[in-house]
Amino acid sequence: MADKGKFAMYWAASCGGCEIAVLNIGEKILDVDANFDIVFWPCAADFKYKDVEGYPDGYIDLCLFNGAIRTSENEEMAHLLRQKSKILVAFGSCAYEGCIPALANLTSKEAIFRTAYLESPSTENPDGVLPQPVTQVPEGELHIPEFYETVKSLDQVVSVDYYIPGCPPEPHQIIAVLDAIIQGAELPPPGSIIGAGTVAVCEECPLEKHEKAIKRIYRPYEKRPEPGICLLEQGIICLGPATRSGCGARCPQVGMGCRGCYGPLDGVEDQGAKFLSAIASVIDVGEPGGEEADLDREIEAVMESLADPAGTFYRFSMAHSLLRRARVNGSGDGEGGTA
């Protein structure tokens, strides 16, 4: 029998949903078991950091890495697993593009600490204690990892071979990738996105699309969508046109606009910018041939009805976007002042 491949999965700053998504592949997990030796997977198997340190370089054939890079420990593990892995996959939106944790890049570490440990209404901290990388206790020294200023994607700290998008990736997509690898299919060039489609979510979405003409934007609770009809053309924000397919358009099918968890389309670096142009093209700007100033006003009026553009357009892709993070001048929390 041929040698089994070596499989690893690790979470950095992760919610654990990516591991659940892998476990939700059901009986397929037995195929993984049959074709791979698990050599590291804190969620599922009992190997430890020191085991990984002891492996020769390139020992792991396939490593699925999920979670963003938030602390010094996350970064150390990224380097270690890069060194030990032949194929390192940024698995899920956090590792791929920062995901929800990277919304923290709209604020600062100082503001995060202040909120959590000093200003929270349930916190009693008269001495102003904050977590410290090193603490002296009567018995000795205690260490915790350093909390970074900025959340990064995996490829911002080490080189990455493939990306599997989604928050989390849908089980059927994970199965497709694992099947391809198990069957020894030829892999796409490094740097490719796998386990997803190549068109926009709209193409997978069964909702009926007509000529779109938005007069204003509705908050999701402000309007009961007409069933069966594209949400965006009803004025409900849906990032479907700017998002890679693969999920099967799950959210629009229960009446909620897509928020873009599968990331930008091929060749698009910035999902938010892409969505802006998509939405600009569907704004109802009145009769053709009107004054340009009127046109601008129309567009502006519609855009003004959109709450929180940065947090909406970059909900999942902040770390990877051209924006990367809000400029931390002052505390970076929109309140001015010094850090």
């Binding site: 949903g17 009992d46 420990e73 995060i112 349930s122 204690v129 410290q132 603490t135 909390f147």
Partner: protein, 498 residues
Amino acid sequence: MKRITIDPITRLEGHGKIEIFLNDEGDVANAYFMIPELRGFERFCVGRPAEEMPRITNRICGVCPEAHHMASTKALDALFHVEPSSAVKKLREMFYSAFYVTDHTTHFYALGGPDFVLGPDAPAAERNILGVIHKVGVEIGKQVIDCRQRNHHVIEMLGGRGVHPVAGMPGGWSRAITEEERQEIEEIAKANVDFALFSLKLFEDIVLGNQEYVDMILSDAYTHRTYYMGTVDEHNHVNFYDGMIRVVDPDGKEFVKYHPKDYTQHVAEHVEPWTYLKFPYLKAVGWKGFVDGKDSGVYCATPLSRLNAADGMATPRAREAYEKMYETLGSKKVNGRYQPVHYRLATHWARLIELLYAAERMLELIQDPEITDPNVRVEVTSTPDEGVGCVEAPRGTLTHHYWTDENGILTRVNLIVGTTNNYAPIAMSVKKAAQSLIKKGTVITDGLLNRIEMAFRAYDPCMACATHSLPGQMPLEVTIYDAQGRVVERLSQYVERV
């Protein structure tokens, strides 16, 4: 001073690490349970539109995203001053019950189960879900997988996604169910009741039928007398979705019963510099450090705590199972209610009673004629300001608290997450187990380390690995240093894999 480092244990809302210090006599001087992670949701949600919170905060945890989704959705009800219709409440609670069934199932079979089914001293390589399946048979293993899958199917059907649901909105739910779907879910709920009864029987046969286990449950190493918290309905029965928060003291006397929106009057959080996680405690008693008893504000919010804090269960079979547990563990009835059970390992039993309750409740709700009401959305008209939403997450009372400007843009956020409630008790349990088990000259064995693990495993701390692990072990490693800080020994509780 000698130091024993346990790193990594896997997640507890992230990752976890234990430092145990031995004094010159070789006894445990102290133990620290450290959480090396923080993500900062309370800050970076500021500036976001409030209605997005059910979809943002579920990324706090992928193991119980349904709990965050629900607490957040309820916070929106309060924030926007909309009372959901009874049909909406029933639909949400039915969805939430399906989640409880799958979550408690995986914890019992993948995490807690191996210690009992195979025994705490079984070879490490066998103490996992696959070992459980070997021991109890493939047929049962298949039932466990089926149970998870059918309930995840319900979660996806109603919530939009299998992980990270999207359907919650102020005063409503974005999707109703058809009669056809109702019938499908009804069959699933029936299968859940059978499965829960079967699981309780399995527990009784394997655990209660073995005196060694019973002694372990009753032993001092795993006993703490703390306050207990849980949500109760108008009859003081356990409720996961809605109600008042009740706290009982270590003797079982009601200490306080409050509306979730008043939580800051009753709960406060303490900060230590050596961990990123805060330690909640009862404000009226105060933070006295890592000690139990009536004079310490430490409380616990777990399945066992919910049962201790309530007068009983709202469904018939769960009620029977509840009474059986308290009787068997020697609890006496005082003023019509059982006195609290303080044995932390009994939490596993309590979890199975909750599993049965969730299954029965799901069946009740899906058979309610109102459940297919197509009208699941309301119009929101009033100006938002402030709102608290609360549910019982499987791992403890979960509170979301939002403030917004008049446009519904968040200006402030406060969260007390399920597992966080139990941080002090877990830290105490780890220390006590270490102190009871490690004495001068103790040889640190695999089984001994597993028994320390069992001290915190009972809490089902929100380690994604913990509840959903496949082989199902938390990797523990112990490093022993000499007084000069040199490594004298490294031990792993796991034997080499073949």
